[in-house]
Amino acid sequence: MTPATLYGLCSAVLVGAGLYGMLVNPQPLRKILSLNLLGSGTFLLFGVIARRGAAAGLGGDPVPQAMVITGIVVAFSATALAVALLLRVFQETGRPTLDQPAPKDGG
C-alpha cells in the first residue's frame, strides 16, 4: 500500500463525489464546485501515475505533471467563465438557476 496508491484511491473517491455532486446539487454554484472536485480528482490521478513513473532522479514523470498544470489552468478559466455566466444569469432573471426561463417573444 504505497502512498501513491492511497492517493489513487483518494482520486477515485473524489471523482465519484464530483459526479454525485454534479447530479444532485440543484444550484449552479454548487455544480461548479462539484466540477472542480471532479477536475481535482482527475488531476490527482495524473499525479499518482506520475509518481509511479518516477525515474532518472526525478520525483515523478514530468509529462503528466505538465499536463496537470495545463489542466488546472484550463479548469480555472472554465470556472471563471462559468461563474461570470452564472452571475449574469442572476442579474437577468433574479435567480441563480439552470431552469430555462420563458423567452420574451420575438425573433
Binding site: 459526479l19 454534479m22 447530479l23 444532485v24 440543484p26 439552470l98
Partner: protein, 540 residues
C-alpha cells in the same frame, strides 16, 4: 442517341431558363415543346443507349421496346397537355410556378422510361413523384394543401420502400453492377429475393394506386388543375408500369408471386369500379377508373410471372399506351365540357363516349386492340374470365362517367379559350384510336385479320353491351340514392391518423423534456459510461 439526352435535357434546360421571372411567366406557351424530344426519342432512338460521363453519377440511359412505346404515348400526352395548359392557364397568376413544377414532372416522367441504372431510375422516379406535389397544391379546391400533404406523404413512403428494395438488389447483385438488367437478373438467385419482391411490388403499388395505397389518387386528380390531372393520371402513373416491367424478373416462373399479383390486381380492378360508380364528380370517377385499369395491368404482370413468359412486358406496355392516351384525353374532355357551350354534345360527348367505351374494349377502338393484346397473357382460365368481367365493369363505370359529364353545369360560354382547348382534345381522341392501330401489327405482330374476325369482335362487344346496359339501368333506377357527394372515405381516416400522430408526438415530447432535465441527463451520462465499460469488459 442524342434524343435520349435531349428527352431529359431539354425540359431541365427550360427549367433553368425559368430562373428569370420574365421567361417564367411566358413559359406556359412553350410547355408543349418540352416533350417533343421525348417523342423523337421514342420514334427514332429505340434500342440506343447513352452513358453519361463519370462526373454525372455515371448514369446510363437506354431505350428498349416497351420503354419506347410508353415514352411515345406519354410524350404525346405531355405535348397535348402542354398546349391545353397554355390555353387553360392564360392570365392565371400562378402560371409561372405551375410551369416550373410542370417541367420538373415532365423531365422525371419521360426520363423514368429511359433510365437504365438504379441510381438514375430512383432519381427520376422521385423527381416525378415529388414534383407532382407542386402541381397538386396549385389546385383550386380549398383543401389543396392538405391533399398535397397526403399525396407527398404516401409518395415518399413508397419511395422509401423502393430505396430499400434497390439497396437490397444492389447488395445481392455481383458487386459493382448497377445496371438494372444485370441486377434484376441476379434477383431470383439471391437469398433476399422475397423481401426485395415485396418491397418492389409495394413501392410501385403505391405509384399505381394498388388498393390499400390508392387513397391518394381520387383526391389528387380531383384537386389538381385539369391539364395537370390529365398528364398525372395518364403519363406520370406509367412510371409504376415501367417500374414493374424493369424490376420484375422476366422469363423466370415465380408462380407464388404471380398469384399474389393477380389477386391484388383484380381486387384493385373491381374495387375501383365499385367505388367509382358511387362518385358524383366525373374526375373522381375517372380517378377510380385509373385505379381499376392499373389493377388490370398488375394482374397482367401477375399472369406473366406465373407463366414466366417474356412477352408480357410488350403487352402491358401496349395496354399502357392506350390507357395513357384515353385517360389523359378524358380528363382534357372533362375540363373542356363545361366550356364547350352549345356544341358540347358533338364536340365532347361523342368522342368521350368512344374513348370511354373503348377502354372497356369497344370493337374497332384502341381499347379493343389493347384487350386483344393482353388476352393471350390472361389466358382462358379464371383470369381470362375475370378479365372479361372487368371489361364489363369498366363499361358500367364509363357509362356512369358519361352521364356525370353530361350532368355537368354549363359554365358561362366563354368562346375564346373553349376553341383553343378543342384542338389538343381532338388530337388526343384521334391519337387514342390511330396509335394503337398503327402499333398493333408492327410492334405486337398481331394479325389484323384475326382482330377483325367475327368471333374476336363479338367476344369484345358483349361485355361492353352488358356494362352499358347496367349503366343505363343504374342511371334510371339507381338515381341519386347511391351517389356520394364527395370521396369522404379519406378525410375521416386522415383525421384519425392525425390524432394518433399528435398523441404520439406529445408523448415523445414529454419524454424528451424529462430526458433534458439536468439530473436525468447526468444520470444517463454516467449510466452510459458504466454500460459501455460493462459491454466492453464482457468479452475479455
Amino acid at each position: 442517341m442524342i434524343w435520349l439526352g435531349a428527352t431529359v435535357g431539354v425540359p431541365l434546360a427550360m427549367l433553368l431558363a425559368c430562373v428569370l421571372p420574365g421567361v417564367r411567366y411566358r413559359m406556359t406557351n412553350w410547355l408543349a415543346l418540352a416533350a417533343v424530344p421525348g417523342l423523337g426519342a421514342a420514334l427514332f432512338a429505340s434500342g440506343a443507349s447513352l452513358d453519361l460521363p463519370p462526373l454525372l453519377l455515371r448514369l446510363r440511359l437506354s431505350l428498349d421496346g416497351p420503354g419506347a412505346l410508353l415514352l411515345g404515348a406519354a410524350a404525346l400526352l405531355w405535348i397535348a397537355g402542354g398546349v391545353y395548359a397554355a390555353a387553360w392557364l392564360r392570365g392565371d397568376a400562378r402560371r409561372g410556378r405551375i410551369a416550373v413544377w410542370w417541367l420538373l414532372t415532365l423531365a422525371g416522367s419521360l426520363g423514368v422510361f429511359i433510365a437504365a441504372d438504379l441510381v438514375s431510375f430512383y432519381l427520376l422516379f422521385s423527381m416525378v413523384s415529388l414534383a407532382a406535389y407542386g402541381l397538386v397544391i396549385e389546385g383550386a379546391t380549398p383543401d389543396a394543401l392538405r391533399v398535397g400533404l397526403i399525396y407527398v406523404a404516401l409518395a415518399i413512403f413508397g419511395e422509401a420502400l423502393l430505396l430499400m428494395g434497390f439497396v437490397m438488389l444492389a447488395v445481392s447483385a455481383p458487386d459493382g453492377a448497377s445496371l438494372i438488367r444485370d441486377v434484376v437478373a441476379a434477383l431470383p438467385a439471391s437469398p433476399r429475393s422475397n423481401a426485395i419482391l415485396t418491397l418492389i411490388i409495394l413501392g410501385f403499388g403505391v405509384k399505381l394506386g394498388m388498393v390499400p395505397f390508392h387513397v391518394w389518387m381520387p383526391i389528387t386528380y380531383r384537386t389538381a388543375p385539369v391539364p395537370a390531372a390529365a398528364v398525372l393520371s395518364g403519363a406520370a402513373v406509367k412510371a409504376g408500369v415501367i417500374g414493374l416491367i424493369r424490376f420484375l424478373p422476366s422469363g423466370v416462373a415465380l408462380p407464388g408471386w404471380g398469384q399474389v399479383l393477380v389477386v391484388l390486381g383484380f381486387i384493385s380492378a373491381f374495387y375501383g369500379v365499385l367505388a367509382g360508380v358511387r362518385q358524383s364528380d366525373p374526375r373522381t370517377v375517372l380517378a377510380f377508373s385509373s385505379v381499376s385499369q392499373m389493377g388490370v395491368v398488375i394482374a397482367v404482370f401477375g399472369m406473366g410471372l406465373i407463366a414466366g413468359d417474356t412477352g408480357v412486358a410488350l403487352a402491358a406496355a401496349f395496354y399502357g399506351v392506350h390507357h395513357t392516351l384515353v385517360k389523359g384525353g378524358l380528363f382534357l374532355g372533362v375540363g373542356l365540357a363545361p366550356l364547350a357551350g352549345a356544341w358540347r354534345n358533338r364536340l365532347v360527348l361523342v368522342p368521350a363516349a368512344i374513348m370511354a367505351l373503348g377502354m372497356a374494349g369497344l370493337p374497332l377502338t384502341g381499347g379493343f386492340l389493347a384487350k386483344l393484346a393482353i388476352k393471350p397473357v390472361l389466358g382462358d382460365g379464371l383470369a381470362g374470365l375475370l378479365g372479361t368481367v372487368s371489361s364489363a365493369a369498366t363499361a358500367l363505370l364509363m357509362t356512369h362517367f358519361l352521364f356525370r359529364v353530361a350532368a355537368l353545369p354549363k359554365a358561362a360560354p366563354a368562346p375564346p379559350p373553349g376553341r383553343d382547348l378543342r384542338w389538343p382534345w381532338l388530337a388526343v381522341a384521334v391519337a387514342s384510336v390511330l396509335v394503337p392501330w398503327g402499333l398493333y401489327p408492327a410492334v405486337l405482330g398481331g394479325s389484323v385479320t384475326y382482330a377483325l374476325s367475327a368471333s374476336s369482335l363479338w367476344r369484345s362487344l358483349w361485355p361492353v353491351l352488358v356494362g352499358g346496359g347496367l349503366g343505363f339501368a343504374m342511371q334510371r333506377w339507381g338515381g341519386s340514392v347511391i351517389l356520394v357527394r364527395d370521396s369522404n372515405v379519406i378525410v375521416p381516416v386522415s383525421a384519425r391518423v392525425d390524432r394518433i400522430m399528435i398523441g404520439l408526438g406529445i408523448a415523445v415530447e414529454r419524454f424528451d423534456i424529462v430526458l433534458r432535465e439536468w439530473p436525468v441527463a447526468m444520470l444517463s451520462l454516467i449510466a452510459m459510461a458504466v454500460a459501455l465499460a460493462v459491454l466492453m469488459l464482457a468479452p475479455i
